[in-house]
């Protein structure tokens, strides 16, 4: 396969960027999208040009590092991570646009690499259960109904890639935040911090400059792990409940 790539190039956070066009030849349908970019970069290095910077690590769809907007869609046309997108999803001669995540809370670092540390700070605000090492009771002391455990797991699957923010026309992080809240708040272990968790995480989310939610549903459509849209409603419910239960000064 032979492809035309239009890739966002930006030297660093302080400079302006622009799309640049490259031709990539000899692409195999079995290649992953990132392996196709590897091929381009090998060429660029040998031609003495700066290779395209992009985040990636596990290439198994679980670390959440890869983060490309391909033809206007976060992680591209299939519902998966960029590293698990294969070139068989494209056709010979296609022109493909590759851009970084766009959100003011995710500033561009270089080319296709963005800074997602805002997500870490949202977790730091309360996305945990305070259980210092050594303090744990016997694991079977508190049975957890299977339905709750399964629901917690489905939300805990979030890989923190940021596709939800990238896809949202408002740059909102509601789906990401709700995934963690729904993971922890449904478990008996997470219940003592239930109110402060949701209030603090939502406050931090707002402070990071993420947009508001207008329920466009783009986040859930882009999510490679299938975190569902109703998670947001469930978080809103927790938040309203917490406002009633834990009024703070």
């Amino acid at each position: 396969m032979r492809l035309n790539l239009r890739v966002w190039r930006q030297k660093n956070a302080g400079t302006e960027g622009a799309m640049a066009t490259y031709e990539v030849d000899g692409v195999s349908p079995d290649m992953s999208f990132l392996e196709m970019l590897d091929t381009l970069n090998e060429d660029l290095i040998l031609r003495g040009e700066d290779p395209v910077a992009f985040d990636h690590d596990c290439r198994e769809g679980i670390c959440g590092a890869c983060s490309l907007v391909i033809d206007g869609e976060a992680h591209g046309p299939e519902r998966t991570t960029t590293c698990q997108l294969h070139m068989r999803s494209f056709r010979d001669g296609d022109t493909i646009d590759v851009e970084p995540w766009r959100a003011s809370a995710f500033p561009v670092v270089k080319d296709l690499v963005v800074d997602r540390s805002a997500f870490d700070r949202v977790i730091q605000a309360g996305g945990y259960i305070s259980a210092p090492t050594g303090s744990a009771p016997e694991a079977h002391a508190t049975p957890v109904p299977k339905a709750d455990a399964d629901s917690a797991f489905e939300h805990a699957e979030c890989i923190g890639c940021g596709a939800c923010v990238a896809a949202c026309p408002n740059g909102s992080a509601m789906l990401f935040t709700s995934a963690k809240i729904n993971h922890l708040n449904v478990l008996p272990q997470g219940s003592p911090e239930r109110e402060t968790r949701v209030l603090d995480m939502v406050a931090q989310m707002d402070a990071e400059g993420f947009g508001g939610c207008t329920l466009t549903g783009e986040c859930a459509t882009a999510c490679p792990k299938g975190i569902p849209l109703p998670s947001i409603a469930a978080m809103n419910k927790e938040w309203l409940r917490a406002l009633r239960k834990a009024p703070r000064g």
């Binding site: 959100a103 508001g212 849209l229 109703p230």
Partner: protein, 208 residues
Amino acid sequence: MAVSGLIMLGYLVAHVAGNLKVFFGPEEFNAYGHWLRVMGAPVLHHEWALWLVRIVLLAAVVAHAVSAYQLSRRDIKARPTAYVHRRKRSSYATRTMRWGGIILALFIVWHVLDLTTGTVHPGGFEEGKPYQNVVDTFSTWYGNVVYIVAMLALGLHVRHGFWSAAQTLGVGSARRERLLKVLANALALVLTAGFVSVPLAVMTGVVS
């Protein structure tokens, strides 16, 4: 956003029910218009109840508009750079909400000036004769166009707005997802069809 929207939605449901009275002839419709003024009597003074409703509505409109403005500003700030590659299906709901909201705001101004104060009314506006006033308005082509376009916008706005309000208030859940969507669609359909039936009836001569 959700609360003010729901207040207005509640009002609209009452409003559309009242509008449909137009099909029972001028006496009944005018009498209904009169009742709105004496509602709550004798406990309340003439038109007090009506003014109470108007104040609450005005507050809801203002709150809705202010939060819409703040939310939009925040959203635009959170996503200052658009993607070079544009896609069709994105932000359908956002577009209908933002532009639909602006259309509706302009419509409300016209609607009040037309049928409440009579300032821009096309015929000879007569206080206490709402039936004739309605017929006058919908006897002009622009009255029909403005009204029907606004009601279609209203349908789209309510469709996404009602469902969103349910999510915001935490009523939504995976289980209720379908129910809420059906309810939102039904509300939108009933409101739009109910409101639009009046100008259609005037145009076709069913109401005259």
